[in-house]
């Protein structure tokens, strides 16, 4: 019988061949990513099924309406159940995945509060409008933009803008270099080296690079 050595049990100090090292590196990286992933594929599939169920419920409630009156109040429990289950499952999975993890990628309590309040506010407004007898057709899903905008604001506040600017400058430089290269190739026969960037731009680039190194 062929015996395949387990890469994880290689002795320290003994011969550790590159093939086993590559297998161990691949295995460990995959396992770590799976354990630390706050939104695993099964959660995304569950969300997709729930969205399908919620949209299906709305579709069933408007099917055959003549004249069209919009979704009925019977859809509200379905939508609320979708939000509650989605929120609970996401929070539970993220909590388990991020145990012991600290740093920039972790959401702060204030950011979680903003996101939760935006959802609660949207649900409250929808509920109030429904209770007041306002038809759904007058305020379609635009209210859901509120949590979306709140989340976008949170993410914008968290972003590492120095890094974003640095990357943007890098891609702009690459782009202009390509454009200059193309122009030279098309318009001139001589193969002169590219002109050096102006001193001011070079200084700015060095300062940004230093700042990126300092901030890790």
């Amino acid at each position: 019988m062929n015996h395949r050595p387990d890469p994880t049990t290689a002795e320290n100090g003994g011969h550790f061949d590159p093939q086993r090292a590559a297998t161990l590196l691949n295995l460990t990286t995959q396992q770590a990513r799976r354990k630390l992933e706050p939104t695993p594929p099964w959660l995304l599939v569950t969300r997709a099924v729930m969205v399908l169920a919620a949209c299906g419920a709305v579709w069933l409630s408007v099917r055959g309406q003549h004249p069209y009156r919009g979704p009925t109040t019977a859809d509200i429990p379905v939508l609320i159940a979708f939000i509650v289950i989605n929120f609970t499952a996401t929070a539970a999975v993220a909590k388990r995945a991020t145990v012991g993890v600290t740093g920039r990628s972790r959401l702060r309590p204030a950011e979680i509060t903003v996101a939760a309040l935006a959802w609660i506010a949207a649900a409250a407004v929808v509920g109030a409008l429904a209770a007041a007898g306002v038809s759904y057709s007058l305020y379609p899903t635009t209210l859901l933009i509120v949590p979306g905008v709140a989340w976008a604001a949170v993410m914008a506040a968290r972003a590492d803008w120095a890094q974003v600017r640095y990357r943007a400058r890098g891609s702009r430089r690459r782009c202009s270099r390509r454009v200059r290269g193309t122009g030279r190739g098309m318009g001139s026969r001589s193969r002169r080296p590219l002109p050096r960037p102006p001193r001011q731009r070079r200084r700015r680039c060095l300062a940004t690079a230093r700042m990126t190194v300092r901030h890790g």
Binding site: T8, N12, G13, P18, A21, A32, V101, G103, R104
Partner: protein, 99 residues
Amino acid sequence: MADDTLDPLIHVPTRLKIVATLAALPDGDALSFTRLQDMIGLTPGNLIIHLRKLEEAEYISSKKTSNGSMTITTVALTGHGREALSAYTQALRELLGGL
């Protein structure tokens, strides 16, 4: 020997697991000592020995924070450590591609 091109500090199963696990975290994040121990399946003493070696080479950084009566130690891969792992991975690719 071809193995000479591989960083000897990373080219040890336990330390390779530690570095690969920490590299799975987003840049700027740290992992608590207990979670790392749980994920790798090492005894605390054994893990400390390997972490110390990696810290001496500035591949990782550790920080102790006091939370009331408890002290939490967190470990993170430094930029230098990420570069070293990247160079190690590249060296592995070249070695295995040449086989």
